[in-house]
Amino acid sequence: MMSSNFLPQTLFMVPRCSAQCQPRKLALSALSLRRPGLVVARPFGFNFAEKDKKLSFLVSAETNPEAEAVVEESQENVDSVESEEAEVDKPPFKPRIKLGDIMGILNKKAIEASDSERPIPDLRTGDVVEIKLEVPENRRRLSIYKGIVISKQNAGIHTTIRIRRIIAGVGVEIVFPVYSPNIKEIKVLKHRKVRRARLYYLRDKLPRLSTFK
């Protein structure tokens, strides 16, 4: 795909008149038709020779919209040849990571790492779940907690769910970090239809609504 070789930034360089123009497929042709003088992005290690060739192609596409299809084909051929040369010479271009994205990237990586070891099912408020927890002190057996999910707080790696259950006549709510390495298994047993994201009203209701055998 030719867009993979192009500057990643250009895919996000939305032309100024984008609101009025009809949005076409997000490809080179869309940019070439709208913006005759394409904004040159700030260079950081990008291969300038490649870019100039593409700019010249853009100008020709602008003047001759009917022959756009022909131009695109030729561009693809040129790009494939260029890409082979580039990969032979050096590793593929990695865009510089912005400092503002690092928090999101770290959270995502941590969640992916946790998911690869132990996949977490899709949890929603109102699910009746059973959680197997390993307590570091007594490593021999796993503690089992059952109950209804009354709230789910999304916070990246520290996403937590609140489980409510009546244990020995006493209502008990426990908060579990979903991606903790101590949680060995989460199994969704049932789902109760609820019309709310947080079921705090169960605290005032009859105990039998929070009882799970």
Binding site: I102, L106, A110, P136, H158, S180
Partner: protein, 272 residues
Amino acid sequence: MSIASLSATIPTSKRFSSSTPSSSFLLRLPLKRFSSLSLNASPSKPPPISASMEAGIGLMATKLGMMSYFDTTGQVIPVTIVGFREGNIVTQVKTKATDGYDAVQVGYRRIRDRKLTKPELGHLEKSGIIPLRHLQEFRLQSVEGFEPNQRLSLGELFKEGDLVDVSGTTIGKGFQGGIKRHNFKRGLMTHGSKSHRQLGSIGAGTTPGRVYPGKKMPGRMGGSKTKIRKLKVVKIDNELNVVMIKGAVPGKPGNLLRITPAKIVGKNIPQK
């Protein structure tokens, strides 16, 4: 780098005498991991160490945010994510001969050269360095092994499990009263009390007949430099060039931080 190696490993050649009656605040802290060092004072008198000296070369960084980190036992550790912009380049090395004290000046955060004044640009161009926004000095005991235009790397200076001191500008709170600013206690809210959040008495009577200077009163709070000591480095991520530090650090995300190896009694004791 000799300095980096000294600060990164437990120093075995540091000399300190056990009989210092100095009243410096550092001595009141208990000896931590260096209690196994021998207490024999070295024959030569060690150079005087001032309180403004660092235990080792540090880095400047940017606070990115906070998140939770699950360690191997499953404990949740609140960590601050600290990132590094392009910078941490030695801009100038000051020696006792030229400037009267030993220090390493480090620059941080590359910017457009149009944003710096000509004197600032000239200072950096003298050593052929890119334009940098912030310059800070790290005053060290010995400045061996540092040259201008030397890049300081995170992996050489800090390892996981190190203790660091982080200093930065705190969040500004504006003009605040005694309760928030100095942890004063409120007055009664009921029972006929007319004073709830006021200062109360600010002095004695006819003697001394004045208010002491330095009396804690309302004023501007925050927006000043503080140092948080002995924070543990939980993890270092080399691809993202990021450090995870346990606990909180001053400022909001985007704040400039100064990270130095922690000054612990075992490593340097000021001589008086």
